[in-house]
Symmetry: C2
Subunit: 449 residues, 2 copies
Amino acid sequence: MAQLLSEELISLIRTLIREKKQESVTKLLDEMRAADVADLIEHLDQNERLCIFELLKPEGAGEVLLEMEPPVQERILSDLDNQAITEIIQTLDSDDAADLVGDLPDERARAIIETVGENTSKDLRKLLPYPEDSAGGIMALEYVAVNAESTNQEAIETIRQKRKEVENVYYVFVVDDNRRLSGVVSLKDLLLEPPYRKVKEIMNSQVVSAYVYNDQEEVARLVKKYDLVSIPVVDEHHRLVGRITHDDIIDVFEEEVDEDIALMAGVINQEIAEDSPIKISRARLPWLIVGLFGGILAALVIHQFEASIEKVVALSFFFPVIMAMGGNTGTQAATVAVRGLATGDISVMSIGRRIWMELKVALINGVICGILLSIIVGMWLSSVVLGSVVGVAMIIVILTSGLVGASVPLMLKKLDIDPALATGPFVTTSNDIISLLIYLTLVTLTFMV
Amino acid sequence: MAQLLSEELISLIRTLIREKKQESVTKLLDEMRAADVADLIEHLDQNERLCIFELLKPEGAGEVLLEMEPPVQERILSDLDNQAITEIIQTLDSDDAADLVGDLPDERARAIIETVGENTSKDLRKLLPYPEDSAGGIMALEYVAVNAESTNQEAIETIRQKRKEVENVYYVFVVDDNRRLSGVVSLKDLLLEPPYRKVKEIMNSQVVSAYVYNDQEEVARLVKKYDLVSIPVVDEHHRLVGRITHDDIIDVFEEEVDEDIALMAGVINQEIAEDSPIKISRARLPWLIVGLFGGILAALVIHQFEASIEKVVALSFFFPVIMAMGGNTGTQAATVAVRGLATGDISVMSIGRRIWMELKVALINGVICGILLSIIVGMWLSSVVLGSVVGVAMIIVILTSGLVGASVPLMLKKLDIDPALATGPFVTTSNDIISLLIYLTLVTLTFMV
């Protein structure tokens, strides 16, 4: 089992740093994995973090840096000098190096690309132009590829030559004379088939690949769908240009979920690791302001019906229940649609079916909740008329909110806007206003006419 | 690139089925990958699905079945006879076989375990007792393990013997004489190191493993943290009992996200693939009923303040904005806490810091929104008093909702209840009621005293 980070370990390290016992700290760090050191660092303050960082060798420091949450990483990088960053970059795989350099301020990035040595600098120049969330943006240039005409023995020799450079090899990619991807061969088959056989005879030519400008989410879905451990990346001429491995794909899945959740609630990605309340507040404020103005719009709507409320004050009792039901129904419908779009389970073909299903569900739930509410209200206020009209309003509100909740994400998708936005305050606020309008119109028609 | 499922392909297959051209359908299916056939089947109706299924060979049928969404899988299994299921089960890896049998009704499961042949039946009896969401519940018995004293050559021979049984091998697990896990060796090292070397000399003994009763979410986090491609599973004596691979881990991540999202909105997992509106409605109704009774509670609260509203009807205008802001703030705080708990970024150590941060953020946002609202209300209704009191209520409401939103998930976690429940209607409804109570008390104190 992995060593778990404990409160004792943290306070031990803190004490050792305070007492300047660098040697003991180094000894403790040497026994830890990079991911655990990163965890530890996240629990320390900036000065302690830098102390730890100075004790790590460049390779170790690089690995630790990669495992940290982005806000912590950013803060540490901003306190390291260019020399230290250059040394770290040189130890990293090309994809990680490009990510790190890509996140630096332009000027620092340029300075580092110039000092980092020819090979790394060439890799960086190749990778940096790709959009961050494309296959090109997450691929690495470290992979093993052989010509289809090579023998197994030659393939094994190629792996040996790249042994240091490519740490994890599970498949060898096979290319033709123009470097076009023509197949893959597993290490297992290389190991078990005779050395003189040609790679093209044992390779699997039905290879799934990603196009370098594919969105990372699409790539992740391909990997998941076909249970791949790594996926080769090709350019527009189907020439092999890179490789994306399973661990990067898991990161993509988490990132996409984080992004969706952040968008749903109007919070920032990785908010947990952020320690400036001003930054968090600034990120959350837009959602609150939308709610605020939506609420004022709702106030204006109610204002229009002031006369009805003056006549029957009890009408105002049911604002919360009407809004809550509209909100919940809308959120349920929107959540299912957003998740379905994210996992690819809702396709263009099934949009009509999806909305039809939501309407059927809303009708059932609307009738049940409507009847329940009308009985409760009717008995409580001893008014069959008020009970009935509140119940009918509830049915219409649930039907409308279900429709709005299900269609807004689909519409956003068509407009190429992230549908996760729909589960945020926009749909809830619109549903609040629409629901109040339906309810107040209905009760006014009943009591005023 | 993988062949994408198109509307044309679906209607072509439909026509061919209608015209009973089985041979042409078989030819089309042969060219498709299992995951694509599963996708296709999900777009057909039950009769068409069964037609396709009859054309697949047992191995193909098994793979296709595994790739389908659970509700579709369940419906197909319910229409297949025991004989057909038995044949399919025999072609599957142990973990998939156990999943499939585990989902069958008890009686059918027993019948199939008895007819499935000795080896498979033994595997099933080993795996079925583990909880579905434990390491044991998702591990497979197909892996390659060798004794630490073996030579590389012997290890390669073991892989050869298990070539058929274990399709994907990236690492060979190394055990001692008591089958206790003592290391791993990568295929790359086996391939590159001389055949006479002993496995224990080249193995990595710092191996990360999962305990068989670990929760699948914990296992997935280990795999993500240490970028593993597969993780060995051990029993209480540290004896090797199984293996979990990267593709299962991706499924766990999706499953956990699906579960959280389902819990947040009160919808069912995999609702998209469900085609009974009754089932969907039944799943969503509890959330709506919570909202309904919460709303009625809110109505009772307002009822208590009837006199105030009769005096100043305008007070009722601001119910929506007060509730919306309480709701949004609570959801933001709860979402960050739930996600942080799910990814492990919030640990027991940081709970106090988390709540303190939420309070600071709520104070900033509360003051900004409170001032904004008091200016708007004050100007609109030309009443400085009403404006100020609404603004002050807003500040208190945002502070309270932030606190409730941040602490409820942490409390649920302590009580071992899934914290995702907190982002559902419970927190929203409680915040609605608390917010109204704060607002109405404050305005009543101002206008009635």
